[in-house]
């Protein structure tokens, strides 16, 4: 009998000595990836959870992230502007303008580098920059965390998202990154055209959209892809409508002589190269180029048609650069524009999951 008691005590001790562990488990979030897209690779240290995405959405629209509580992410990434800024440059809380146009937020889960010069190698790292930036939200992360900590709702949201107490910059960045990764656009007319030309099955809704695609839109797509037409496909390719590269596309250097990628690499071969942006929702993300120099799509098309400026680092794939551009006539410009408008994804823009939750 003594032996049984002895064994019982040992067993009880072993169990009771087990380290206390928080059993809270966040709910895995299943991304809705369009069938014609590649998988999105999620960082192992920031898995997608429903609680994380929800928190990220609140933080995206949270003005307490700025020094004077007037700015949030959506101030410079306006939903109706394809989550970019309709202004040429964004203005921070101290009234200071930036020097590059705010980039559209779409399908960022597939990107490997961020900002026009690619200086951030992950979405989380990108998100860490605007808050303390003195010409943007101008607030230290310490102050930001302190503000959020005063709000019990946020304390609870952070706990649910990360399974532990505490708020810091890393968790804010991770939560916003999770939310931004849900911002997937793959339901435009172009998507149906892409699937059709790649012999991928169309669902019933897509078949209906397919019937609505006009001859002009198809002709514009042909021009877009044509080597002797608009020749756009070298840089705007695949379901994501971009390639992963930095390119000097033939712009005349801006007044401030923004060197682009070279400001990160200090390599003169990268002078005036900027990240190739996606063309998704391009209709809504004006103004265009890294410095917002073109107010509308007509100006962009005219630039590629006749405004190319040759320079030592111009992309070799700007093949008609020495002629000033691809030399489209008026009807071709119109067709090309018609195609560019097919890239607008209204389901994305109007998705209530991406709107201000407050």
């Amino acid at each position: 009998m003594k032996l049984y008691i002895f064994l019982f005590i040992i067993a009880t001790s072993l169990v009771s000595c087990k380290k206390d562990k928080n059993n809270f488990q966040a709910t895995p979030y299943l991304l809705e990836i369009p069938s014609h897209f590649p998988d999105m690779l999620i960082p192992q240290d920031n898995p997608m959870t429903a609680e994380g995405v929800e928190l990220g959405r609140f933080l995206f629209y949270e003005k307490r992230l700025s020094g004077d509580n007037t700015m949030n992410c959506a101030t410079c990434h306006v939903p109706n502007g394809a989550f970019s800024d309709p202004n040429v440059y964004s203005t921070g809380i101290d009234g200071i303008e930036g020097t590059r146009h705010s980039m559209a937020l779409v399908n960022l889960g597939w990107e490997d580098f961020f900002f026009w010069d690619g200086r951030a190698s992950s979405l989380e790292k990108q998100i860490l920059e605007p808050v303390p930036n003195p010409i943007e939200m101008h607030q230290s992360w310490k102050a930001t965390a302190a503000k959020l900590n005063l709000d019990i709702t946020y304390r609870n949201r952070f706990f649910r998202a990360f399974g532990e107490e505490g708020i810091d910059s890393i968790k804010v960045a991770k939560a916003i990154a999770q939310f931004v990764r849900t911002m997937i656009s793959g339901e435009s007319k172009f998507d149906v055209m892409y699937k059709y030309e790649n012999s991928l099955a169309l669902n019933t809704n897509e078949q209906t959209i397919f019937q609505s695609i006009s001859n002009e839109e198809w002709a514009g797509y042909d021009l877009f892809k044509s080597l002797n037409g608009a020749d756009c496909f070298h840089c705007h390719n695949g379901p994501l409508m971009r390639v992963k590269k930095f390119s000097n596309n033939g712009l005349v250097a801006s007044a401030i002589n923004d060197l682009g990628r070279a400001s990160v690499t200090n390599n003169a071969n990268d002078n005036y190269k900027f990240k190739v942006p996606t063309l998704r929702n391009i209709e809504l993300s004006a103004p265009y180029m890294h410095d917002g120099r073109f107010a509308n799509l007509d100006e962009v098309i005219e630039f590629y048609s006749s405004g190319i400026h040759m320079s030592p680092t111009i992309d070799p794939l700007i093949e008609f650069g020495s002629q000033g551009g691809v030399q489209l006539d008026a009807s071709e410009k119109l067709l090309l524009k018609k195609f560019l408008l097919t890239l607008t994804d209204y389901n994305f823009i109007n998705n209530p999951k991406f709107s201000d939750p407050n």
């Binding site: 030592p312 992309d315 070799p316």
Partner: protein, 247 residues
């Protein structure tokens, strides 16, 4: 009864604590296929300036190509790999394998027809054919891959300055330009235990100056394998094949 229980308990404890025998560790051999870009006898570096056979200053900015169905008879070394000099340096691929099985190799420069027209988003995430990894090497306009891509700048204008103001790009794709290769008597180098290297070279001087069909960058500077570009495309394919050899 108590003693019996104690004995059972001790016996159980004793056997459960028995040290496990260590199995003989499995040692894998790693096979590395490398490609050294060259310009004649010199190693080639991207963005560095060389002199073409015609005397033009030339620099190369992009050098990428696919190899698919790399095998020796029925032994497959890899289904597909991409060489991207800027991103990955000399390494075309690295995988576990048995070098004795690959003293000869056959394969394609480019993406063979069984893979070339599949949905590029459907390949496994780690596949070089997945659209995320293919990047600029997949064409939307003909739904297939660019088999190899050579881009750069050249100074073909005798204006006295050294500005490399003329671009060239050779983009070869479409099934008709797939080329095969076959090498025998290959010797894997063994620089360290379990590491094996099979070195190839890609000589871009040879690519340009193939005696029977040289490529003059002043006039032969652009092909996307499209209609009207067949003659140059064919030369580019043949010259590339000649320039790619065991090192």
């Amino acid at each position: 009864m108590n003693r019996l229980l104690i004995l059972i308990f001790l016996a159980f404890t004793f056997f459960s604590c028995k040290k496990k025998e260590n199995p003989i560790p499995q040692v894998d051999n790693y096979l590395n296929l490398t490609v050294q870009p060259k310009f004649g006898s010199n190693n080639l570096f991207l963005d560095s300036i060389y002199t073409s056979p015609e005397g033009y200053k030339v620099k190369f900015t992009v050098l990428k190509f696919y190899i698919t169905q790399l095998k020796n008879g029925s032994s497959t070394l890899t289904d597909a790999t991409i060489f991207d000099f800027r991103e990955n340096g000399l390494l075309a691929f690295r995988k576990i394998g048995d070098p004795t099985k690959f003293s000869a190799l056959q394969g394609f420069i480019g993406v063979d027809g069984t893979l070339n027209h599949l949905d590029p988003s459907a390949f496994p995430n780690e596949s070089p054919l997945n659209i995320s990894n293919a990047g600029t090497m997949h064409w939307g306009w003909n739904t297939g891959y660019i088999f190899f891509s050579i881009e750069g700048k050249v100074d073909t204008i005798p204006d006295g300055n050294n500005s490399l103001d003329h671009s060239f790009s050779f983009h070869i794709g479409t099934d008709s330009y797939l080329s095969d290769f076959s090498f025998s008597n290959l010797s894997w180098q063994n620089p360290s235990a379990n590491e094996f290297i099979l070195p190839f070279k890609l000589d871009l001087l040879s690519f340009l100056q193939n005696p029977s069909q040289p490529i003059d960058l002043k006039t032969d500077f652009l092909t996307h394998s499209g209609a009207g570009q067949e003659a140059l495309s064919e030369i580019v394919v043949q010259n590339f094949k000649q320039a790619f050899q065991p090192n």
